[in-house]
Amino acid sequence: MTGPALQHTPRMPRARALFDRVPTRWLVASGSGILLAASAVFGGLNDAEPVEPPHLEVGEAHSGLEMDVTVNGGVLIDAFPEVNLIPDDGNRLFVVRATVENTTTAARRLSSTEPDPIQVDGVPEVAAGQAPTRILVIDDGSDLVVVQPGVPVELAFIWEIPADALAAGDTVAISVLDRVYIGEGELTYGGLYGDPAVSATVDLELTDVGAGVTE
């Protein structure tokens, strides 16, 4: 049982004895402290810069993870009777026009149950992150929106709001969202996605077109 290491006598027996009496957790704590102090020298304890999503102008294109989005404008309108979209009494429609291009390789249906790919903040009576009432293709009023890869399409994202909630000249904050891919499901089929992340913001000044637009 006697190995050569045990026969070795330390060069500084008293220092060694002192060191042996230091509790291990003191060693761990002081080691961590030294590392932290060293990182502080290089700015490790400075306040982190908050990462603000870029702020876009109206009409400026934004490249997201899966879609390029350009917010083109916002209007208030009474109704869209030609697509059978007539709000309840006392309500009007708040419309955000945006051009969306799918940059993935597969067509994707835009759901009107998730706030995707844009959401509005600070609109009275519209909860932050509330999905639009309807999403329409502006070209033909079709309301089942599938964005095909590489084919930009201008869409109208429509929220029904009380008539007095917004007026012409009001500014509404628009968030452009990215859906965040987590991975393939183990038990479920298809990709799993986390909470959508704000990837850009746009301040939109509204115009009021009364009963209809002429474009």
């Binding site: 390789t105 079709s142 095909q148 590489g150 084919v151 089929y189």
Partner: protein, 196 residues
Amino acid sequence: MTNPLRWRHAGNGLLLVGILTVAGLVLHSAPDRDLQQSAIPVQGALGESASGRNIRATVHSVAVTESVTAGNGWAGTTPGIWVVADVTVEAVVDDQGATLGTAVLRIGDLVYTASTRPQTATVAGRGLATGIPLTGPLMFEVPADVVSSATSGSSTIELAVASDPRVDSLLVVPVDLAELPAQPAIEVDFPEWDAR
């Protein structure tokens, strides 16, 4: 000198290696989930009828056009180009829940679904009847440079009942888009039952 214990140990070792080898072979050769669940492709050809479990379809012709006018007057515009296929499709055994849920144009890695913008003037998403063929157009909205790309010569049109074609028949019809000249405009008929 023969030590029976040593022979037994060697035998156990060999047995263990054998079991591990077999397990490894099984693990690496068994079909994975994608293969177990993938759609069952049925190769078809342009102009010929192809049959799967609950779908029989014929892709009669394919055209590339700048603009298309559907049977209900719809003429949606696109920044890309329209690929229009004329198809006949019917259910085979059961019309319960049988819709043309999967109507896909695959060009290389890119997957385009048949547009539902023409509403009822396309057969995409329409309910199917058992034994009564429905004939009509499928419109695909595709970027013009993808249609003229090198991979468009080996495109496929894929049809299946239900929007999720896993573990069911998927009719795969090869189409050569590279050969087709882009026409300025075409008109297509409203989908018709039992037309051919």
